[in-house]
C-alpha cells in the first residue's frame, strides 16, 4: 500500500521546525476547544501528532486512490451537457473518498465542521494531492474560498456556507472574464440591487473558471454603476441551488485536463454580498490571491516530487551499454539538480507558509480582542514576510516544476514522449503553473519593490546571522559573497529609471531567490542530513546563476534597451 506522506520523510520534518510550537499555540488560542470538541488537542504535542495522523490519511488516499486514477482522469476529463458539468469517474471517486475521510475544511474552525489545522499541514495536503494528480489539486485547493468567507463574510453567510465544506461541497473563484485576465480592474459582470426583493442579482459572463459548476461560488462583480476601475467591484457568494448560472462550455486544455475550466453565463443569478461594497478587488480578492499563490506553490512542489520520483525510478531501471543510465554522469547531474530544485522549492514553500500561519493567526485573534503592542509588531513583521516571500515562492517553484517535468522526460528519452509513461502528463500539467494565479512576470512585479526597498537584503542578512555547523562555513562564505554581489547589482540598477529597473527586475528577484533558497537548505541541513547534498548543489549552482545575471546587469547600459524596444514597432511583411 502506497503512502505519499510516509514515503517522504522531508514532509514530517516540517512539523519539527522551531516555529511550529508558536504556530500551534496561536492557532489553538490556549487550546480553548479542548473539552468542547472530542477531537480537539490539549497541547502542542497532541496537535502535531494529529497533523501527522491526518497527513497519513492524506498520504494513503493520494497514493492508493488519486494517483492510480490520474491517467484515466487525464484521458476522460469532465463533460459539459445541458449547462452542467460532470466530473470524470475517477475525479468523482477522489472527491468522494476525501469527503468520507472528513479532510475537507482542514483549516476551518471546528465550529464550522473544520479541523482547525494550521496552514503548514493544509499546504502539505495540497502538495500530497498534487503529487498524485496536479489537476485534481485544483478541486481540492478551491476550499481556499472558505477561508475568504471565514475572514470577510457576515456571521449569517458563514453559518450558511462554511459547514458545507467538510461535507463535500466544492467551491469556485469566479474572477476572470474575456476582457479581464491579469487586469481584474476591468471586470464587467454586473451586480444590481433589487430594492423590492432585497437581493443582489448578477448578470454577465465569466471565463476560464476552474471548477466552474461548483456548489459554492465567490464572484467578483461590478456593483457600482458607472465606475470603470477596481474601486467599483464587490465580492459575492452564490449558491448553485439558487439557479441562474449555466455553463456555456468547458475548455479543451493542454494539461490539468481533469479539472474543468468553464465559461459561465449569469442570468439574474441571486447572490449575497461578502463583506463591504467596493472592497471586492482591492481587499478580498487580493487576500484570496495570496492564498491561491501559496496553493500553486504547493501544487508545483507536489508535481516536482512526482516528476523527480518517476525520473529516478526510470534511471535506475533503464539499462544501456550494460549499465543503468543513472550511472552516466550526464544523467546523474540531471537527477541531482532536479532533487536540489525540488528541495529548495519545498524549503521556501514551508518557510512562506509559516509566515502566513503566524500573521493569519494574529489576524484571527485581533477579531476577538485588541492585540498587544508586541503582538501587533509580530503581526506586521510576519505579514510583510508573507507578502515578500509569496511571489518568490510562486515564481520559483512553478518554474522549477516545469524544469523538473522537462528533465523527467529527458531522463526517459523516447519513452518519456509516449503516453505509456506518466511524465508526459506531468509535463503538460506543469505548464499552467507559471501562468495562473499571476504569471511569473506578474510575480516579478509584486516582488521587485522588496528588491528596491532592501527588504530581501535585510532578510538575507538575518539568515546570515544564524549559527551554522563548521562544515557549512565554505558554503556560507559563498552566500555572503553572493549577497554582496546582489547588493552591488541593486546599486547598479538604482536611479536609472523605472523602465531600467523593470527590465532587470526578473534577474534581480531571481538573484535574491537563489540566495534565500540556498540559506533555507543550509538551515534545514543543520538538523536533518536529507538536505545536505541539495544544499551543496543548489548553492553552487546559484553562485553560477547569479554570476551570469550579475555579469549581464554589469555590462548593460541604458542605450542597450533600444534594440529590445525595436520589437514594439516590428511589422511583419504581409504576403499577397
Amino acid at each position: 500500500m502506497a503512502n505519499f506522506y510516509k514515503d517522504n520523510t522531508d514532509l514530517k520534518f516540517q512539523f519539527s521546525h522551531p516555529l511550529m510550537g508558536k504556530i500551534v499555540e496561536l492557532k489553538e488560542q490556549g487550546f480553548k476547544d479542548f473539552g468542547k470538541f472530542d477531537y480537539a488537542p490539549q497541547n502542542i504535542e497532541d496537535a502535531i501528532d494529529s497533523y501527522d495522523k491526518v497527513m497519513e490519511i492524506m498520504g494513503d488516499i493520494c497514493g492508493n486512490v488519486i494517483a492510480p486514477n490520474a491517467e484515466q482522469v487525464d484521458h476522460d476529463g469532465p463533460v459539459c451537457k445541458d449547462g452542467r458539468i460532470t466530473y470524470a469517474a475517477g475525479t468523482q471517486q477522489n472527491h468522494e473518498v476525501l469527503t468520507q475521510a472528513g479532510v475537507y475544511g482542514l483549516n476551518l474552525p471546528r465550529e464550522y465542521g473544520g479541523l482547525n489545522f494550521s496552514m503548514v499541514p493544509y499546504v502539505m495536503a495540497a502538495e500530497l494531492v498534487s503529487r498524485a494528480d496536479a489537476g485534481f489539486a485544483n478541486i481540492w485547493g478551491l476550499q481556499d474560498c472558505a477561508e475568504t468567507i471565514y475572514e470577510f463574510a457576515s456571521k449569517e453567510i458563514k453559518d450558511e456556507f462554511l459547514p458545507r465544506i467538510n461535507k463535500g461541497d466544492t467551491c469556485s473563484m469566479d474572477l476572470t472574464e474575456p476582457d479581464a485576465g491579469s487586469d481584474l480592474q476591468s471586470v464587467m459582470l454586473k451586480a444590481t440591487w433589487d430594492e423590492e426583493k432585497q437581493t443582489w442579482y448578477l448578470n454577465g459572463v465569466k471565463r476560464f473558471i476552474t471548477n466552474g459548476d461548483a456548489q459554492i461560488k465567490l464572484v467578483l462583480a461590478r456593483s457600482e454603476e458607472g465606475t470603470t476601475d477596481g474601486r467599483g467591484l464587490s465580492y459575492f457568494v452564490y449558491d448553485k441551488a439558487w439557479g441562474g448560472v449555466t455553463v456555456r462550455r468547458i475548455e479543451n486544455k493542454l494539461g490539468i485536463k481533469g479539472s474543468p475550466t468553464a465559461e459561465l453565463v449569469f442570468k439574474n443569478a441571486p447572490a449575497k454580498l461578502v463583506g463591504e461594497r467596493k472592497l471586492g478587488l482591492i481587499k478580498y480578492v487580493m487576500s484570496l490571491m495570496n492564498g491561491a499563490r501559496l496553493g500553486v506553490g504547493a501544487q508545483s512542489v507536489g508535481l516536482s516530487e512526482a516528476a523527480y520520483r518517476e525520473a529516478l525510478k526510470y534511471a535506475n531501471e533503464r539499462v544501456q551499454y550494460k549499465k543503468a543510465i543513472i550511472n552516466f554522469p550526464a544523467v546523474t547531474e540531471l537527477l541531482a539538480v532536479m532533487k536540489a530544485k525540488l528541495q529548495a522549492s519545498r524549503a521556501i514553500l514551508y518557510e512562506t507558509t509559516r509566515f502566513v500561519d503566524i500573521y493569519k493567526a494574529y489576524n484571527a485573534i485581533s477579531e476577538e480582542r485588541k492585540l498587544t503592542p508586541e503582538e501587533r509588531q509580530e503581526f506586521k513583521k510576519y505579514s510583510k514576510y508573507a507578502d515578500m516571500f509569496t511571489p518568490v515562492l510562486k515564481m520559483m517553484s512553478s518554474e522549477y516544476a516545469n524544469q523538473n517535468a522537462y528533465d523527467a522526460i529527458q531522463v526517459h528519452g523516447g519513452s518519456g514522449f509516449m503516453k505509456e509513461y506518466p511524465v508526459e502528463r506531468m509535463y503538460r500539467d506543469a505548464r499552467i503553473l507559471t501562468i495562473y494565479e499571476g504569471t511569473s512576470q506578474l510575480q516579478t512585479v509584486a516582488a521587485i519593490r522588496y528588491v528596491t526597498n532592501g527588504s530581501y537584503l535585510a532578510k538575507i542578512r538575518e539568515y546570515e546571522q544564524m549559527e551554522f555547523k563548521p562544515e557549512f562555513a565554505a558554503l556560507k562564505a559563498k552566500l555572503v559573497a553572493m549577497t554582496d554581489q546582489f547588493e552591488q547589482a541593486c546599486a547598479l540598477v538604482a536611479g536609472k529609471g523605472d523602465e531600467y529597473v523593470d527590465f532587470h527586475a526578473r534577474r534581480l528577484v531571481e538573484m535574491a531567490a537563489h540566495i534565500i533558497m540556498s540559506y533555507l537548505l543550509i538551515i534545514d541541513s543543520q538538523t536533518c542530513t536529507s538536505f545536505v547534498n541539495s544544499a551543496k548543489i543548489y548553492t553552487n549552482k546559484s553562485e553560477a546563476w547569479n554570476n551570469e545575471r550579475f555579469s549581464y546587469i554589469q555590462q548593460f547600459n541604458p542605450e542597450d534597451l533600444e534594440p529590445f524596444n525595436a520589437v514594439k514597432s516590428e511589422e511583419l511583411p504581409e504576403v499577397e
Binding site: Y39, D46, D49, K53, V97, Q100
Partner: protein
C-alpha cells in the same frame, strides 16, 4: 439501500482478524524451516473483514446502528479495534487470554460465539475468510454455535427492514438475492465495496483508545486518562469474562493437529507449447474455462 428508520437501535458486531500481510510477501517471508516468518510480515486488518466493516458502517449510516468490533488475538491486536474506530465503529472488544492460544477454527469460533452472546447483537458481519488460513470456516461455525441463520459470500446488503435483511450473494456462477430474519450472521466477499478511509475526526478522537494492558505502558503526554473517558476503553475479555466450557478454548478445544508442513515449489515441468494460431488459442481458452482457471 432504502432509507429506513428503525424503531430500535440495531447492534452490529464485526468479526475481524489481525493477519500477516501475505499479499505483500518479501524475500524473508518464510523461515528456513518453512514456517511463516511473522516478524517480517506486517500485521494488517484482514482484507475481507474490512469489506465486512464497510457493510456494517453503511447500515450505521442509514439506521444509526451501533458498530462493535470483536477480535481475538494477542495484545497488539488492539490495533484492529483502533483501525475500526478510526473508520467509524463505536467500540470494540479484544478477546485475549493465554487459554485461547493455539486455537483452530473450532475453538476460535467457540470463543467468538461466547463473546457474541454476551454482546447480543442483531447482525454479525465477518469477512468470508482470512488471508492467513483461508478456511472460510470461522464465520459459519459461529452462526452454527449461536443457532442463527447465516448468509455467506455477501456482496451487498440491499435492504433492511424491521424484521429482515435482503442480501446479494456473489456466487461462482452468478448472483443470488436472499433474505433472512435477524439475528443473523453474514460473511462478506472481497467483491463487496471497499472500506471507507479513516476519518480525520475519528482518528483524532480515538487515537488514545487503548486496553487496560496497554494503559500500563508509558504513554504520550496527550493521552487522555481512561478513567472518565469511557469511549477510549477497549474492552479485554478472557475466558472468565465470556464463560463457557474451559476445554472448548485454545489448544484443548482444537481437534486439528498439523502433522507436517510441506514446501511446494512450483516447477515448469508441466509447460505446454502453443503456436500463435487461432485454433491453439481457442483450445487453451476452452481448457482454462473447463478447469475453472478463468470464467
Amino acid at each position: 439501500m432504502k432509507e429506513f428508520i428503525m424503531n430500535k437501535k440495531l447492534k452490529i458486531v464485526v468479526l475481524a482478524k489481525q493477519v500477516p500481510d501475505t499479499r505483500h510477501v518479501g524475500k524473508d517471508a518464510m523461515t528456513p524451516e518453512g514456517t511463516v516468518n511473522r516478524a517480517a510480515l506486517p500485521a494488517i486488518f484482514n482484507p475481507e473483514d474490512m469489506n465486512a466493516l464497510e457493510q456494517a458502517l453503511r447500515i450505521k449510516d442509514k439506521t444509526q446502528a451501533e458498530v462493535i468490533l470483536l477480535t481475538m488475538g494477542p495484545g497488539r491486536a488492539a490495533d484492529i479495534i483502533r483501525e475500526g474506530l478510526f473508520r467509524g465503529a463505536d467500540g470494540g472488544v479484544l478477546l485475549t487470554d493465554r487459554k485461547f492460544a493455539g486455537a483452530d477454527t473450532l475453538a476460535t469460533s467457540y470463543a467468538l460465539s461466547q463473546a457474541v452472546k454476551k454482546i447480543n447483537p442483531d447482525i454479525i458481519l465477518a469477512g468470508r475468510q482470512a488471508i492467513d488460513g483461508d478456511t472460510a470456516q470461522v464465520g459459519p461455525q459461529v452462526a452454527e454455535k449461536l443457532n442463527i441463520p447465516q448468509v455467506t459470500y455477501a456482496e451487498e446488503i440491499l435492504d433492511i427492514q424491521e424484521d429482515k435483511l435482503t442480501i446479494k450473494r456473489r456466487l461462482e456462477r452468478g448472483i443470488e438475492v436472499v433474505s433472512s430474519p435477524m439475528p443473523l450472521l453474514i460473511t462478506v466477499h472481497a467483491t463487496a465495496a471497499p472500506c471507507r478511509p479513516r476519518h480525520a475526526k475519528q482518528v483524532m478522537k480515538y487515537k488514545s483508545a487503548r486496553t487496560a494492558s496497554e494503559n500500563a505502558i508509558p504513554e504520550a503526554s496527550y493521552f487522555l486518562p481512561l478513567e472518565g473517558n469511557e469511549h477510549l476503553k477497549i474492552a479485554e475479555w478472557g475466558v472468565q469474562e465470556i464463560g463457557g466450557d474451559e476445554n472448548g478454548f485454545g489448544m484443548a478445544g482444537s481437534p486439528t493437529k498439523v502433522k507436517k508442513v510441506e514446501n511446494i515449489v512450483f516447477q515448469a515441468k508441466e509447460a505446454k507449447k502453443l503456436t500463435a494460431s487461432d485454433s491453439d488459442i481457442d483450445s487453451l481458452i476452452v481448457e482454462l474455462i473447463s478447469n475453472h482457471t478463468i470464467g
